[in-house]
């Protein structure tokens, strides 16, 4: 009987809150504006992704033609001429571009060197480029919390200032019930917003036939929804505490500015201070030094070359390089490539480990801002984060090594004639293809568990805070 009464009361509170929200013209306009901005940013992102994909396909064809146009060429020269590969644009990156704008999607593959991605969308920017941040994910992660602030800052402080709260409490509704009902009403409203954005994204995915990504999309929007609920509970708690609507609005805006804008900006910078990484010049100098002098500075390139020469002569039982049945230069290149690849791989692994440590630091800072948990989670699901990029680079590196060594091997197996040895380099590398695969869900899953748990912990903490604030409402009414 008691439970039925409570449920009825809850239903009334939810309905009443819905009516207030529906009649609030300001909120209607805001919601409409937000959905328009979301749709505009999604359309722009989708358009850009389509253009990028089409451009990449054209580039891949041109690149293959250029490689083939070399015809007869010295294989090692061809390895220096190098090839270019293009990182496919992950479909869900339309919703959350994550770090993609700051990672080059074109990679030059050449002998002796491991390069990083080139031609970032943020390259060659102007003052206006500094304002490039309004993507669908930013709308969901930054602007929706602002909408929540505007929708919910008067939840209690507004009614109290109009002396309505006392009437509501006097009518028999408990303060906790009022809080629960209003939270539920807002939560349903936010759920509908999540559904609307989900439908817009699903249309994009469906048009491309990317059905397997629906699971990731659902998880992304689900995590986003939890984040919104956290924000809602916090704003409602502030509203319950604030003495009037103005104070409630200012405090809620302060929360938004700190939690959504400042902390997510500061955390990566502090992480960089905590785990500094070398600049590009210092990094390449360190690699070059190790290539020239060995890891301890005592195994210089000349010494290694002498050792290789002696070992090769001994293995083939000849006295002079000219008597070898193979091309010694090719053998040197093959050995050199093996060595530099090992050195580069080790240095890059260290760099990426430092980046991962920075990411862990930022995630730890999510105890201060739930956005710091949501952002890596969303980018991981969209495959627009650093581990996904590293996965691509590793595949490209395996391809580079196979291609360069095939060229070096061909040179090794063909003795020098009178002039420079040349061969059809396209034919030599024809069997080596590059077909990058994106990460499987089982590889992504471990990276999203921790942020998801943090978000859930935030939700529990925020709800407890709201519960506590609501219980004090009676005294303030």
């Amino acid at each position: 009987m008691m439970a039925t009464h409570t449920l009825t009361m809850l239903h009334i509170v939810v309905r009443q809150q819905w009516r207030i929200m529906a009649r609030d013209g300001r909120l209607r306009w805001l919601l409409l504006a937000l959905l328009l901005v979301f749709a505009a940013s999604l359309t722009a992102a989708a358009g850009r992704a389509n253009l990028t994909l089409a451009q990449q396909q054209r580039d891949a064809v041109s690149e293959a033609e250029v490689w083939a146009a070399q015809g007869e060429a010295n294989p090692h020269g061809a390895a220096h001429f190098g090839r270019y590969v293009y990182k496919p644009w992950p479909p869900l990156a339309v919703l959350d571009p994550g770090l993609l704008n700051h990672l080059g999607s074109t990679l030059r593959l050449e002998g002796h060197v491991q390069n990083t991605g080139r031609y970032k969308p943020t390259d060659r920017g102007f003052a206006l480029s500094r304002f490039d941040g309004l993507n669908p994910a930013a709308v969901l992660q930054t602007l929706v919390p602002l909408l929540i602030v505007f929708a919910a800052f008067t939840t209690f402080s507004g009614t109290r200032s109009r002396a309505l709260l006392a009437q509501e409490l006097g009518a028999g509704a408990s303060s906790r019930l009022l809080a629960a009902g209003r939270f539920a009403a807002f939560a349903v409203g936010l759920g509908r917003l999540a559904l609307a954005t989900g439908v817009l994204c699903a249309v994009w995915l469906g048009a491309r036939g990317d059905w397997p990504l629906f699971g990731s999309l659902l998880l992304m929007l689900g995590a986003c929804y939890v984040y919104w609920l956290v924000f809602l509970a916090l704003v409602m708690a502030i509203s319950a505490h604030a003495e009037n609507a103005g104070a409630s609005l200012l405090r809620s805006l302060g929360l938004w500015a700190v939690v959504v804008v400042l902390l997510p900006m500061l955390a990566p910078q502090l992480a960089e201070q905590r785990y500094p990484t070398p600049g590009a010049t210092a990094f390449h100098k360190a690699v070059e030094r190790e290539v020239m002098e060995g890891p301890d500075g005592h195994d210089t390139r000349d010494v290694r070359l002498g050792r290789l020469e002696a070992e090769t002569l001994k293995a083939y039982g000849v006295q002079k390089i000219a008597d070898l049945p193979i091309n010694f230069d090719g053998l040197v290149f093959e050995h050199g490539e093996q060595r530099t690849t090992g050195i580069y791989t080790r240095h890059f692994a260290q760099l990426y480990d430092d980046h991962a440590a920075q990411a862990r630091f930022s995630l730890a800072a999510s105890v201060l801002s739930p956005m710091l948990a949501l952002r890596p989670l969303s980018a991981a699901l969209a495959q627009s984060d650093l581990p996904a990029h590293r996965h691509f680079l590793e595949q490209a590196e395996r391809y580079r090594y196979a291609m360069v060594q095939a060229l070096n091997r061909d040179m090794k197996l063909h003795r020098k004639g009178n002039g420079l040895y040349t061969a059809d380099v396209n034919a030599i590398t024809a069997g080596i293809q590059f077909a990058p695969q994106s990460l499987a869900m089982r590889d992504v899953a471990p990276r999203i568990v921790q942020p998801l748990l943090i978000l859930l912990a935030w939700l529990i903490a925020a709800l407890l805070l709201l519960w506590r604030s609501a219980s004090q409402l009676g005294g303030k009414a």
Partner: protein
């Protein structure tokens, strides 16, 4: 006029006694200190990189001089071509940061900091080595909290937080009717309140930013003044916006809401949509496509070189020259390749210029864009300066090719004396002041235009019943 002055003084006293003002200044000072430190760190890293490149160039030249002085004999001459032949001269060009660099990193991270130049290198590849960027992209994606961010994003928020209740506070306190019954025009109150607000909030914040810049090593007084002027006008714009937006609103909460919406529209949404629009109208030239086109051109030139080598009879000389003829032939090939590079690049350059024009036009859409542009120019980390550097570095390379031609014509090797005299060095020449001032004035004009539009709207809206009393 005297009455405006009196009201301003009264409002100023009231504002200065407000409890929230000191914490606001303190908070702003702390954010400025962090942003200034952040900018100084970034600037110091760039300066360090430029210095490392200079030292590297010096070391290479010193090593080569030593090779000529101590190692080369007539028998071993062929092994030291790098030191002896002008064709192998090596230079490093770098773009030094200015003393105002701590203000913002601007667009600098999107352009090469330096160029590695050799006369026979393809002119489109001299920046390649310096394109690599190993900084954590998560930091770049989060955005740098520098002084420009503080001024463009936070400063208007804080100015608005002090000015949004300018009139609605009076209404809520029941003073509006009484004030309007006094023998004062309503705009006198608004003007005086705006002036007081600017003096109590915008001015101290501008002074704090200027002081931070001075502490960060900025010594360009005209730059500091220009920065303060731009920020001052920007602050005025936002106070004007607060008056316009809140003029007819009934409650302080509504006024705060409207001000924030205005900030969001002009600082976040409008510039982002403008960028999307520019991307549509004038997209950036396709870098990967350009590279493929240049590589295809290189293949075509190589085929032409091979065909010509087969056609040309082998050069016979009685006495072997100091510089091998193969390097003279290479010079002809480099010139041919350069013509191809220029032809291919022309199309992409015109696309880039078109984009640049649209990007510059976008400054008139929002004072926030104009201020960002102005601050980037003041810091020396703007796109224009970066592009100037690229042009100067490429011109420097062409000048060195001319020098190589002289050495080849005279069949002259580099000597210890050449190294002692010093090989040519790249020096970046700043844009002429007229050009810089012109660009800055456009930014000032854009903010003035914003102020004018705001003033016109205010006038239009104030006709009849300027302020609400009920």
């Amino acid at each position: 006029m005297k009455s405006i002055f009196l009201i301003t003084r009264f409002e100023l006293t009231r504002l200065l006694r407000a409890r929230w003002l000191a914490p606001l200044w303190l908070g702003f000072a702390l954010v400025c200190a962090y942003a200034g430190w952040n900018g100084t760190q970034w600037s110091a890293q760039r300066l360090e990189a430029v210095e490392a490149l200079r030292l590297n160039e010096q070391k290479i030249h010193a090593d080569r001089r030593q090779q000529i002085a101590e190692k080369i004999t007539p028998e071993t001459k062929g092994r030291f071509g790098g030191a002896l032949y002008a064709t192998a001269m090596f230079f490093q060009a770098a773009l030094p940061p200015t003393s105002m660099s701590a203000l913002t990193n601007g667009a600098a991270d999107g352009y090469p900091l330096a160029a590695s130049i050799a006369p026979y290198m393809a002119s489109n590849t001299i920046f390649d080595e310096h394109l690599a960027d190993l900084a954590n992209p998560a930091v770049q994606a989060a955005g740098r909290l520098d002084l420009a961010f503080v001024l463009v994003y936070l400063f208007p928020l804080l100015v608005l937080s002090a000015s949004y209740g300018m009139w609605s506070n009076e209404r809520e306190a029941g003073m509006a009717g009484w004030l309007l019954s006094q023998p004062q025009a309503p705009w006198h109150y608004l003007a005086a309140k705006a002036a007081a607000c600017w003096l109590a909030t915008a001015l101290p914040m501008i002074l704090l930013v200027t002081a931070t810049l001075l502490l960060c090593g900025a010594r360009d007084m005209s730059g500091l003044l220009a920065c303060a002027l731009l920020a001052g006008m920007y602050g005025l714009f936002w106070i004007g916006a607060a008056i316009f937006v809140t003029q007819r609103l009934r409650t302080t909460a509504q006024a705060a809401f409207a001000c924030l919406m205005c900030w969001l529209a002009l600082v976040v949404v409008a510039p982002a949509l403008a960028l999307t629009l520019v991307d549509r109208i004038a997209p950036p030239s396709a870098s990967a496509e350009r590279v493929n086109a240049l590589r295809a051109e290189a293949m075509r030139a190589r085929a032409e070189n091979r065909a010509e080598a087969q056609r040309m009879p082998k050069m016979e000389r009685g006495v072997a020259p100091n510089i091998p003829d193969s390097l003279r032939l290479r010079g002809v090939e480099v010139d041919r390749a350069e013509r191809g590079i220029q032809a291919v690049s022309a199309r992409y350059r015109s696309e880039d210029r078109r984009r640049e024009t649209w990007m510059e036009r976008a400054r008139f859409l929002s004072p926030a864009i104009a201020l960002q542009d102005g601050l980037e120019r003041l810091s020396g980390n703007d796109a224009d300066r970066a592009l100037q550097f690229q042009q100067q570095a490429q011109r420097f390379q062409l000048t060195q090719r001319d020098l190589v031609r002289v050495y080849l014509a005279e069949d002259r090797l580099l000597t210890v004396a050449d190294y002692d005299r010093g090989l040519p060095r790249f020096v970046f020449h700043e844009q002429p002041w007229r050009q810089r001032t012109g660009a800055m004035l456009t930014d000032v004009l854009a903010i003035c235009l914003g102020l004018f539009v705001l003033g016109a709207l205010l006038y239009w809206r104030s006709r009849g019943r300027p302020l609400l009393t009920d």
